[in-house]
């Protein structure tokens, strides 16, 4: 066959290929800006693991100081350094999860990350089963998911926390439960689309097992949209953690939590306005960054597919 081979025999290395797929991000200005915002907070988080300007939980300073040379962003109503608290606030969201019990053990990966991973695992499993098997499987799974979706998200959080109490694991569970229906719906619609393809027929005519078809034939082709969705979900999760913290039922103290910082500073809003601004900005920029990144990525991916 006289087909010109674009690579002329030399196959690009794995790294080159990976770079090529990553490079899509930089095609989109929106995604690049979003990524920069997320990376900024990740970097802050990693720095805070080894260094913060002051002890985050210690009331070492005068209360309600405006920004100054020592306390770059001022102090809060208990005289704690806001800069240090803000920096450490990234940890519980993105970098570590405290295990229940009195032990001081933490596992890597923040509450938001584990929550999203949880909803991905649960949602994808349910969604693939509903979408690929169809029939009664679909009816029953969707009915259950519909019931979950019918709960206003925050009511579900409140109910879960009212029932199980506060804690990192509870928040992860709450995020998992509220996120799973959305993931499942997406996975289901992707599975329903993909299962009409002829390569699924080919697998069926080979007598492949249902599990093989769902996880080996369908799932790899659904990963693009699922990844973009997961990115958005990390944003939602941070959003939710912030909201829970703000409502005073989020991650337990003593480690600083942005939402809770806003909540506490709000009570002193007339005497100290800066204290409420910083954590608010932090949450907003991180969530917006993730959204921008996901949005730009999605746009770029659909363009790429065209």
């Amino acid at each position: 066959m006289a087909i010109a081979q674009p690579t002329a025999g030399v196959r690009p290395s794995r790294w080159q290929q990976m770079w090529k797929s990553v490079a899509i991000i930089f095609e989109s200005r929106v995604a690049t800006v979003g990524l920069a915002m997320v990376l900024f907070w990740l970097l802050i988080g990693f720095i805070s693991l080894v260094w913060t300007p002051h002890e985050p939980n210690a009331s070492d300073f005068i209360q309600n100081l405006p920004p100054n040379g020592t306390n770059w962003l001022g102090t809060d109503h208990l005289g704690r350094d806001i800069t240090s608290r803000l920096m450490q606030g990234t940890q519980v969201i993105l970098l570590k999860t405290r295990l229940p019990g009195d032990s001081e053990i933490s596992i890597p990966g923040g509450v938001a990350i584990w929550g999203v991973i949880g909803s991905l695992v649960l949602g994808v499993t349910l969604g693939l089963n509903a979408g690929y098997r169809g029939g009664w499987w679909d009816q029953i799974i969707m009915q259950i998911l519909d019931a979950l979706i019918a709960f206003p998200r925050i009511v579900l959080y409140l109910v879960v926390i009212a029932a199980l109490g506060q804690g990192d694991m509870v928040v992860i569970l709450a995020i998992t439960i509220t996120g799973a229906p959305g993931v499942a719906r997406l996975a289901r619609s992707l599975a329903m689309d993909i299962k009409t393809r002829d390569y699924i027929r080919a697998a069926e005519t080979r007598g492949e097992s249902v599990r093989y078809i769902m996880f080996r034939e369908i799932l790899p082709n659904a990963r693009g949209p699922l990844l973009v969705d997961a990115m958005l979900r990390v944003g939602y999760a941070i959003f939710a953690i912030g909201t829970l913290g703000f409502l005073g039922i989020g991650l337990p103290p003593p480690d600083p939590d942005w939402g809770n910082m806003v909540n506490e500073a709000r009570r002193n809003i007339f005497s100290n306005q800066t204290a409420v601004i910083w954590p608010s900005l932090a949450i907003a920029t991180l969530v917006i960054g993730l959204n921008l990144f996901a949005d730009g990525l999605r746009e770029e991916l659909t363009r790429y597919q065209k």
Partner: protein
Amino acid sequence: MTGKQKKSPVLKVEDLAVAYKVRGGEIEAVQRVSFEINRGETYGIVGESGCGKSTVAWAIVNFLGANGYVKRGSIKFQGQELVGKSGEELRRLRGDQIAMVYQDPMQALNPSMRLGDQMKEVLTVHRGMADDEAAQHCIQMLERVYMPDAANVMRRYPHQISGGQQQRVVIAMALLNNPALLVMDEPTTALDVTVEAAVLDLIAELSRDFDTAIMYITHNLGVIARVSNRVGVMYAGEMVERGTVAKIYKNPRHPYTQGLMRCVPKLGADKAGSILHPIRGRVPPPTHRPAGCVFGPRCDYIQDKCREERPLLRDLDGIMVRCHFAEEIIASEWTPSEELALPQIEAVSSDSETILELNDLKKYYEVQGSSFKDVIGLGEKRYVKAVENANFTVAKGKTLGVVGESGCGKSTLIKTIIGLEGSTSGKATFMGFDISGDISGRDEALIQELQMVFQNPDSTMNPSYTVGQQIGRPMLRFGTVPKNQVRGEVIKLLESMRLGENYYDRLPRQLSGGEKQRVGIARALASRPNLVLCDEPVSALDVSVQAAILNLLLEVQQEFNTTLVFIAHDLSVVRFFSDEVAVMYLGQIMEIGPADAIYAPPYHPYTEALLSAVPIPDPTIQQKHIRLEGSVPSAINPPSGCRFHTRCPRRKLLPHGGKICETELPNWQITGDGHRIFCHIPAETLQTFDPVITVESD
């Protein structure tokens, strides 16, 4: 009628170049295209996909999207330059003096507006006509395009009428303002062959009555031969040849046109016309066009000059051709080069064993109604009778072709055989084992013996795995090849598909449609099956690639002594390919027998109608004019008696206008040598019909 001179062309396109701006530059999708269309003339533009045919059409109506523009050349409509006309002036021309009909009528109609409203606005906006007056006009026009129950159709929504009717509505809508130019872009491609034939008749009639100039774009050489007087052949964004249909079809001068003619099956009087010779390679994308002659890399006659210099359009006995050596190239003296050589088909001994046998196989699907009773499960159960009493045998190493229009049950038939669906009743045996249930009840060894080749090249391969992984999977799964030898076996298979070892690590998106289809065939053969079911394996491919795939299938059949069941909607493809042919209509096999017997009298009336509908790319061939009325009835409540009786053009040959057809099932009439016809009309009468296709003797 009169000796009136046709003074000026309705449309005159000169040296047109259309470019699209893309990231980092622009692509010239169309270059150096010139042609003109006269009043009342139908001008055909033919070419494979990606040749820029549609771009020309969009350029004429100046609808090239945000990033496309006419880079060079001129488009003159009725003496006025269209390039650079203001938006408002263009708007007034569109829908008034220039109208357009394109491929998918379902997409072209607004799903949430009544058809009447969509039609009326053409008149109310352009002519400022009152609403009820416009409605009257629309109904008249719908009646003019033979739309049954026109007044009622006005109140309907697009999804409530059939595809053929949708296309009639679109055509009627285009003609409402009596345009001087009608641009039609593949208007019948999405339609079934009998519906297509009726729409083509309609187009010819309208062009005559309204004196409208029609620009007819299609990939189908047969359709061009039927509707148009003159034709332009496009290849890779250029018009490589143009002239009258009669001349070009008789004696094509450009190597590409010649190649096209050789690779489309012609449903002629004899089987020899069905031998196909593919063009090697594929159409280059606009970004990778060669420097010299665009067809150079695929041309059998390529010389140095062709690589260096772009040929100009030259006049050769009234045909304009873009080739340096057109005088020296004579189509009839062409012989296939070695790589395109046709497989030698040896006659398989006819007494070989039966491998597949179906006895009264039925497949019904339960459907849910929409009444309250149905929803709560108390309604009467209704069924789509997708396959009814299928009876046939296939001998080892032979090919059975199954033909029929969409919805005739041919796909369900093979899904049932392969086990994607279980049958409702009846018996199916394969190699002596029962296969009437679905695949979950079948033995591993049996599954391995039955494989399938799929229709759509874009979805036949899993985009996430490499070619090698996908071909290797059946080997691993069935353990036909030891694990460490899989790679070698896959490469062997790739080579017999004429794909090299370097394809092993490629991903599907790096392959062309034809290559993907080859890999699909390789995957089906990987488990060394005895029977391969092919579901329209070439219908989504360009004609020049189709031929290569068909020939490849024949070759592997020889090599592996595989039995094939081959589904197609196109009678001409099946003829060359099959030993036996079955014709299906609405779930029922109407006629079955050796291929040659199907294409000659006695015909089943449906086969006869199908044959007369197929567009044949040869203007010298005469076809009987038989058109089916109405549309295919629903398979939920198929007509009683003979399922074809509602549309049968031959029914009146029977006493009492064929009353018996409505009430009683016909018997199978055996007309010798395995040829069976399912019809009430006696075989002797059927025998007296003239052949549908005759070659004009001049």
